[in-house]
Symmetry: D2
Subunit: 290 residues, 4 copies
């Protein structure tokens, strides 16, 4: 089938390639004209026959809002917009309601798989009406991995981004668990061959996982990760997960700690620990570092 | 090659089967004579030609100590004892030193894979001398999964159980991350199809892992885990991991929280939270539950 | 000076008493006519001479919104409204802006001290303009404890409730630290006299604190807190504190854990721990509790 | 009464002063002859009439072991040794048993109060037999604060150091709660007067505490703690508290997190966060910092 695809960066570009490989006709648009199939979003829309399906794969936030606003102007009744970016789930319902006034459908689709999805397929988590999902199903089928996994229609509009958000929260916790264990192995005098230990777990062990494979891959090139600083950004989903835990009164010790560890990694010095140092000096006369 | 194998329970029995399938001659001993190949440990030893390799697969602690003590009496110079149980790493060096006085070698081998290892192979983490490892290598090769992963000679005596301990610490953290995420999905009004969300992550996603596969498998039979109580034992390695973090000054927020969550799961009521309730009543006149 | 005081419950009633003891003229209003000094808010306003200062001491949320809306109708230029309830800091600026259109001033005042404030004085944290604070200062001076502490003009509108929110976050953490320590003492075989240990810390120790005094007081009546269930509500400030930590990228391990412990205390069973139990059963055949 | 006091440093020197102020006869010994009342421990012992009470106030570990070993040689039946240092509770029983073979009594006494104890009195937590405690009670009475608090006979030998250990664990958690709250206040745009906010809590608030007083005191000299690095040592008790939590299966989220925060404060870079950065780069192509 035909698909309009807005945003041809690291993710969108790979998705275009995978979709074309599956026989779909993709008209991509990107601000970078060198990789774009159309001079403008309007031209992209014109190249597609109604009813159209347009996939937005641009950064969450203002840029996505602008793209969806623009599509609301250009599209017609019966068309469908899919937001495949990392939008916050609360932004989906207002968009869907706005588009619905013009008879345009809306699906939110969380996409996992990173830069490997082109080859392995992407895990897709979709929110929206069953009718709209059915219309876009050939696209989802081409993007997802082969076999019974990698796709879910999780619920109404918002459910896709919500599911992706929780997925990322879990991802934070699993990464941190691996990271803590690796640090402990490195710190201990008992184990000589730490990269070999990681490698041994890749098959047959309970912690067998794609993240473990990637850690092994990183250690292959840099066995003590000496080239990297212990500095990690966060892209929003981890924060929203903790906010949701607070809203819903769900205890989330591990995921929250993993998020806080990223915050700490970006601090040059810790104000909290200045206060602890000050208190130790005050009550015990303990030495401080200036 | 020949192997003596002590302990033919859930793990040992499966291992005997896998080893025999690979063409090795296994003389197994178990207190349960119906499954044992020998009437006693002594008879088992007699059935093997020197130099012998004996694998102990009995519960860690006193039973393992007794088995290894007995082997010290029965074996001769050039034989090797392998402890494949979940022993604490600090127990390995004393045993190795004791056996060394008689010229008997000692290897500690952490074994992961649970009840699935018979079919998938077991991840093996070994500590000991290179010479002793080489002598037992055909056994390790038969037990481990096929391919480049699933085995490491991690360092000297103790390194195998240490690596397995950290593996289990990571396992605690990964399980808790999955568990927290699942609880949040269940608590939220946004997602209708929680088992489907879990299933969608099994391919193509960043959290793709064996533990996720097992969670999906559990949900297939009981979509809300309604048949289970939220009660989880711990088998020692998680505790030792946190003790090591304390000894080595390694921050382990996620793994420690995961361990504490298990402790909490076994409490009928929380004394700490009684104290919190009492304090709220004292300062604010807040209602309490009696 | 004169003060209108709306809400004469546990907090407001005590405050009226303390203010009158200091020589101020308080016209209190409460829906409960038995304790009210006026038949309606309107009558209360009429009984005061302009420029008036009105203190709202009703539950945060809709009730406070209604009271402040009503005051906006009844008051005149030069009057001041003080919200002494536990409102969320983000609600303050819109209220202040609305009242400002009529020339009415607004102060937000976080109040700590609970049911003991009547006797000890209340710690007051105020947000608003210096001019408005100055007009109400005699009231603040009467409510606060004697001496140099117990009052701060923390910043512009919102700063008072914000400071109170952080105060409560710290309170959660301190309470949980005490609660954890008490649970550990109770669990250990080393200490016979746990209530005595708590009592010993009340003077001369580093943990000397009002919360400790209250724990001792609670144990005096019920040495093992056997009459209480380990169940603790939360009133919002703890949640907002964690939300702010997430917004501002401040690591808050202790305060977030304390909040999560309250969430846990209210669960009959833990879904997360059901998942952990399920996983242990799946990979290890470990026993579960049904 | 008479007391021999070994170790006249920051703590011991102040204690000698407080005891003499209360009318007791103290013969102090210190390696630093300028402040010592005796040329040797032996001379100190000779200057005291039997039955003697000797208080050891030297660093925990080997030095304390040596002092107590020496006292075992020099003292006689009916004498009493008190260890007032921060010894680990497990070390007490072996010492008591050794001294008991010569009829010498042993008490372990946890001492809190830091450099302020000389003036405020010290909180004392004592383990040992009722008879031995009674013999030393006049000393305890002079060292403790006036009034009903500041002293407990917590249980048999070991109970004193155990109680002090838990006290310090609580102290870690309370300090961290204060530190986190202060960091959040500093990070927020809502509060202008952070030192004033801290000061306001010193009277009338729920978080009123000695540690808060000390934080205010530190901020008086350095309102943003700009002169201090966020670096905090730990002196053992926090670690032992977490080890005990692990042994006794008591969930200690807050205290363990506080300990881990100190570990983190001493790391130049975080290995765990290198691993997290590596994983983000691997799966998402996310930028890293080198």
């Amino acid at each position: 089938m035909q698909l309009g695809l807005i945003g041809l960066g690291r993710m969108g570009g790979n998705m275009r390639e995978r979709l074309r490989g599956a026989g779909h006709e993709v008209v991509g648009y990107d601000r970078n004209q060198e990789i774009s199939d159309a001079a403008s979003v309007a031209e992209m829309v014109e190249k597609l026959s109604a009813p159209r399906v347009i996939w937005s794969m641009v950064p969450a936030g203002q840029i996505t809002d602008e793209v969806i606003g623009q599509l609301g102007e250009l599209l017609s009744e019966g068309d469908i917009v899919i937001d495949g970016g990392n939008s916050k789930f609360v932004d989906d319902a207002p968009r869907a309601e706005h588009l619905a006034t013009k008879g345009i459908g809306y699906l939110d689709c969380g996409v996992s798989g990173g830069i490997w999805g082109s080859q392995n397929g992407y895990a897709l988590m979709v929110g929206g009406s069953a009718e709209d999902v059915a219309k876009a199903q050939p696209i989802f089928d081409a993007l997802k991995p082969e076999g019974p996994y990698g796709f879910v229609h999780a619920g109404p509009v918002g459910a896709g981004h919500y599911t992706k958000m929780v997925h990322n929260g879990i991802e934070y916790g699993m990464m941190q668990a691996l990271a803590e264990g690796w640090e402990l192995l490195e710190a201990s005098e008992y184990v000589d061959n730490v990269p070999g230990a990681i490698k041994s777990w890749r098959e047959g062990s309970v912690v067998k996982s794609w993240l473990l494979d990637l850690l092994d891959r990183a250690l292959d090139g840099d066995p003590e990760l000496a080239k990297l600083k212990g500095y990690a950004e966060d892209t929003g989903e981890g924060r929203w997960t903790v906010d949701e835990a607070v809203r819903l009164a769900v205890p989330l010790h591990v995921i929250a700690s993993s998020l806080f560890a990223r915050f700490e990694s970006r601090q040059d010095d810790s104000r909290a620990m200045k206060a602890v140092a000050a208190l130790r000096q005050q009550f015990g006369g303990h030495a401080v570092v200036n």
